[in-house]
Amino acid sequence: MIHFVLLISRQGKVRLTKWYSPYSQKERSKVIRELSGMILTRGPKLSNFVEWRGFKVVYKRYASLYFCMCINQEDNELEILEIIHHFVEILDRYFGSVCELDLIFNFHKAYYILDEILIAGELQESSKKTVARLVSAQDSLVDAAKEEANSISNIIAQATK
């Protein structure tokens, strides 16, 4: 099971966090501090696994961003490593060659996408196509509602003219 997902920039800035096990805000900050200290300092040619407090953290660096997922000791590390890549590929497809800025300004979109990939710290969907379809369906629901709202406000505006 994945206990949490962290996206941290090379400078140690938090870009996204998702917690599937209950941590208090204080514990969250501590976890992030400890892990950034451990992971950001690691050299490039090392393994993608870090042992931490009896857990394992699987991480991978994409450009300036580190994607980290914390799992139990007996979980399959490589499987998680590829869940990270799966997530990144979907982000990439959605944003069109994703960069850190996309995730900073659209952190909420990243959350929606993550929610289509993981629930309860487990993989929900392994088809990129399906995830893309579901996320764009959500987007169009939101757009439709916006248009509707606009047209109503237009009607009101005209009526009260």
């Binding site: 590829e82 929610d115 309860a120």
Partner: protein, 1011 residues
Amino acid sequence: MALSGMRGLSVFISEIRNCQNKEQERLRVDKELGNIRTRFKNEKGLTPYDKKKYVWKMLYIFMLGYDVDFGHMEAVSLISAPKYPEKQVGYLVTSCLLNENHDFLRLAINTVRNDIIGRNETFQCLALTLVGNIGGREFAESLAPDVQKLLISSSCRPLVRKKAALCLLRLFRKNPDVVNVDGWSDRMTQLLDERNLGVLTSSMSLFVALVSNNHEAYWSCLPKCVKVLERLARNHDVPQEYTYYGIPSPWLQVKTMRALQYFPTVEDPNTRRSLFEVLQRVLMGTDVVKNVNKNNASHAVLFEALALVMHLDAEKEMMSQCVALLGKFIAVREPNIRYLGLENMTRMLMVTDVQDIIKRHQAQIITSLKDPDISIRRRALDLLYGMCDVSNAKDIVEELLQYLGTADFTMREELALKAAILAEKFAPDLSWYVDVILQLIDKAGDFVSDDIWFRVVQFVTNNEDLQPYAALKAREYLDKPAIHETMVKVSAYLLGEYSHLLARRPGCTPKEIFGIIHEKLPTVSTPTISILLSTYAKILMHSQPPDPELQNQIWAIFSKYESCIDAEIQQRAVEYLTLSRKGAALMDILAEMPKFPERESSLIKKAEDTEADTAELSAIKLRAQQQASTALVVTDQRPANESPQVSQLAMVKIPSMNNMENNSVDQELTQANGILGEVEPQPPTHAPDADILGDLLSPLAIEGPPGVSAKSEHNIVSGIEGPLSEDDALALAPVGEQDNVVKPIGDVAERFHALCLKDSGVLYEDPYVQIGIKAEWRAHQGSFVLFLGNKTTSSLVSVQAVILPPSHLKLVLSSVPEIIPPRAQVQCPLEVENIRPSRDVAVLDFSYKFGTNMVNNKLRLPAVLNKFFQPTPVSAEEFFPQWRLLAGPPLKLQEVVRGVRPMSLGEMANLLNSLRLVVCPGLDPNASNLVATTTFYSESTRALLCLVRIETDPADRSQLRMTVASRDPTLTFELKEFIKEHLVSIPTASRPPPQPQIAASDPGALLAGLL
């Protein structure tokens, strides 16, 4: 892609990004929070758009790590908005801002349920996602049936059903009872026939959780799993979008193989054949390719297949294939594969007899010990530790010693401990053992715990042949220019005892020995000075005929320390000075230390404790623990020349450091003091307790009021001795000692006491069984889960667990299976209800049969008084009226308690807090007093506020006055006695309070926090 689509939000984010430093960022955040707060206050003016914008900002701020202690209501209220855009934001922000422990979440249960049972598919998805990510126990109880319906409904589309499967998984984790096993095995079988791979993947995750809890119910699913594997790995029968770099859903393959590992075996020959065909294909058909992702994915499957083969203990041929593969992996350059190769090789050590094949790779493994990656180094260390035996101990330990010089600081302590243990367990001869330990102290003194040097002293004392050698070595180390203080201690001790055996060697006259030791005195700390003084006394005693010059020199030192501010040193100085003037009498008193009684190595114990103390008891963990115990069995075949037959399972526990400061010398002092001080002789019952290096019960230790402190010391011993003492009769109550040939690992009483203060951990362990416990408490109710784990490779039969409840508790234990299959773990929920206050303890009568042995244990359950407390801080306005209202007996009781174990006020406050009595600072004007409050829950009393006041005397820490008040006379009395027990009897005394230092590294503790 550009900005967020919400201008205000994008502007805010860029402003945060533009902040030059943390201080500016905080100012900006504070300003924004103030703004949001005012906007939320007059909610009328807020459009849905504004509301969304503000909760997004809140989430962003929260994600950056700032506290956001308002606005939860607004986020939660968006959930009930009628339109999708608001609802979507509400669900997402709520699931990020809150966690399952927030009361606020309860407000949402109804809305969430309505969305789940409603007809709107998109709303169902949102609701299931929220519950799946942060649902807690209450959600489990109220929503599980609805979620199950969605999962098996034929009218629901896959996008809903896959979410329902994972949502149910979460609820099941929170409360296993929500999935009714009887009904589910059939449904699960059907679910595994699912064609849609999204639904199947989610269902498989659910299945892994169900089967890990109870595989018996799901035998019918086993062939389905094999079918799934065949479909994926053999037939490649999956839609294109579900292949990942050409591999048919590697994730589903991994999960399926994981599920199969929870079945003890595959019996049906056809199924077995099909499964092995697939496994064979995976083992042989996985090649290393250039593409990283493809490589990772195929190796994820491969390593899972390896684990499954190891688990099924397949034909020898397949196993040797596995070993060969692992041998290849640990030599590759790719770090991930090498890491996993080492890790899996360590696992393999535990399941089969492949030690000899693995030994062939020793050189390769040692190379990995020098890898630049600490993760790999750790795996290599673990593997070397696991594969060490008599034949390769010398090589491995020497490698470890060499590595110690360059190892990371974070690893040194573990490394030192492991080297010391291996040296002790597999020493080909004892002089080598002494060499290793001294080198260890020399190279990494800071990381060598006291246990390690106590242990070497113990060995040397018990082996006459070794004494001259050890003394000579100690003498050599003293010549080094800068040596670690631990080295000073051990050398001084050894030379004090045995330097006379070296007398004829150059540089070893008493005078020279004294000179070189005394050189170190100015640089050492107080405890070491005490040891040095004892050494001087011993040197003096051994220099016969007396050398007047040396004598004067030493006497001068004693006189100097006669006025030392440290009481221990002062006392030694005074006594040694007087004694050494008595001439011949000195010889008797300072005679050589007698041999130590044989006992379990405290080091091995320590290593075991760190391994065993964990709440997470998965099948694989159990395997790991099993390894620890087989490793111990090996020790029994020690070489014959090694006289101390250390019985690994002996229950005599070594008292830990805090009781035993300077214990190396205390024993001498016991004797010394006996003559000088005319203290009453030691009670004979205590004599056999003479402990490793010193005697805890030496008359010296008795300083408090005699009556009470004698009692408390008795209790110390009981804490240490486990099964032998009366106090713990309940904890172990061996039913006919001959029957119980199985000895528990670790101290049962100590485990119980630890569990009184925390809610998860190991209750009992022996070589076959481990019983873990996890508890949750709510008001007067509690629910336990007992984890019964079979550590062996054969079934445990006639398993029985019966609860013997005291009259004040209602206990309901769900049925316990009669058989625990090999290496499996079963979970048995146990519900507790507290009827009225009492200090009586419930007992679990647990028995099982292993081979022909019937093993029976009566174990105390940690459902004790303080578990029904809810820490309730109280203000002065509330406290004093109550305090006055409860005027006197029987509602308010006061008692002067004597023989309180020495602790500072801070420690006492911590103790009270750990008993869930929350200390309220500032209520009592006198700074040496403590006031604590809590709420007690029971069915008969309902919630009752309890008030406690403790007045201490800074001049005499051994006594205090305690006043306890509540509206119930029984509660007042029981609470008073309860606190007294904890202040006096010191259940944790034989070990320093474990919580603080473990917290950082103990997975169990951390896990308890997570679950």
